[in-house]
């Protein structure tokens, strides 16, 4: 029975140790999904979403829209969508109609922005509508408002494949993000790639490492945070755990890194609001 779970996890069978651990931690290594039919869609061209590295219990919370706490943010996003704000006294709805009209937008961000000649990500795009169209104040990063709206905009693209472009004018930014991913940092001197390319499927203490292909998952509800959080918050956490100085959420460094991480997720479905440990 755990052999089956193991095979479905599709983890590299590189070490006998892995097998032993899979036995110790009966919370499947990305195996037996709470929802058998939904499992297939989280693996595309050999790329696996963090969903497949979650325990069945965590998967079950994500799979059920009624228990998934991320939906509180989707609902809050819907309220904000229709709220008129700013000197222009406009709401998102006044320009865009129903939120579902934005289906297909989320999977393509970050993208090159001709105006600033650098990348713009979805949070920044939302804030640009606020400052330019609504003449309202930009929402703060990680504020309830910005998280809610980003989650709503992600949610309406649920199931669509992540599809960021990394050629053309986006190329130099993509290359910077990639360099970040391979750069060792912090007192513990590790790069993103050491955990998420070299050892996915293996345990680092109690944590099962995923491939970090989270392009379709954030903002997500993290049980550890007891809250929904942005991808940049996750970047800060991963930087801090190797005792490296993190960058600011929304910094150019993190937006470039985001493009690289999302490119690694190209083809995987948007699953906002996802749930992780």
């Amino acid at each position: 029975m755990f052999r089956k779970r193991y095979r479905m996890g599709g983890i590299a069978l590189s070490a006998l140790g892995t097998l032993v651990m899979a036995g110790v931690f009966t919370l499947g290594a990305g195996g037996a999904s709470a929802c058998e039919e939904c499992k297939g869609k989280y693996e595309v061209d050999g790329k696996k979403s963090g969903y497949l590295y979650s325990t069945p219990a965590t998967q079950a919370i994500q799979d059920d829209d009624f228990t998934n706490p991320g939906f509180l943010w989707v609902e809050r996003g819907r309220q904000l969508w229709a709220k008129k704000e700013g000197e222009a006294n406009k709401s998102c709805k006044d320009c865009h109609g129903e939120p579902e009209k934005l289906r297909g937008v989320f999977p393509t961000y970050p993208k090159f922005d001709p105006k600033t000649k650098k990348l713009i990500n979805i949070e920044q795009r939302i804030n640009r509508c606020r400052t330019e169209q609504m003449k309202a104040k930009a929402w703060k990063w990680e504020s309830d408002e910005l998280l809610s709206m980003t989650t709503l905009v992600g949610y309406v693209s649920r199931g669509m494949p992540v599809n960021v472009k990394v050629d053309g004018p986006a190329k130099p930014f993509f290359e910077k993000g990639k360099a970040f991913y391979f750069q060792r940092r912090g007192q513990l001197d590790m790069a993103c790639k050491h955990c998420h390319i070299d050892f996915p499927g293996q345990y680092i203490r109690a944590d099962l490492l995923s491939e970090g292909r989270a392009g379709g998952a954030f903002p997500l509800y993290r049980l550890k945070w007891q809250k929904l959080g942005s991808l940049h918050r996750r970047f800060r956490g991963c930087n801090k755990q190797v005792r490296a100085k993190p960058y600011k959420a929304g910094s150019d460094e993190y937006v470039n890194l985001e493009l690289y991480v999302k490119w690694r997720s190209n083809g995987l479905p948007v699953e906002v609001p996802a749930v992780r440990r």
Partner: protein, 160 residues
Amino acid sequence: MRTAGLVAGGVALALLAQGAAAEVTKVQEKGLKPYEIVDGHTIPKPLTDKPGDPKRGAKLVVTRKKGNCLACHKIQQLNDFPFHGNIGPELTDVASNLTEGEMRLRLVNPKVVNPDTIMPAFYRTEGLHRVMKKFQGKPVLTDQEIEDIIAFLKTLKASQ
């Protein structure tokens, strides 16, 4: 139980075996005691005069904010402590496989043996990027803590 990472270590050792006379590299990083790497694979001399204490070593191996070796290594002698990772090779029998000097180099700076390793260098202050302010200029473990851990590792034999 040997993992892919070990193969890399094995290759490095094989290359070194071709050399003849002992090659000594002196290392001195800011704020740290100087030490000598012999033939690129061992630091035979202890970093301190005081012998290591295996009991304290075991504690450092378990403690998350110190060695936290269990993050990546399984050590059956420490099965009372939960959550052993499996990123690196099991250390249950490490004393049968490595000399004390080889273990010391592993802890001080494993990148000498495998430049691409995930394993942190526990006794370094230089060549690091964007270290958080409160850890700048400090090694992860002190010289005495390294010696304590080595004293503990020397007790790790599967047959016992």
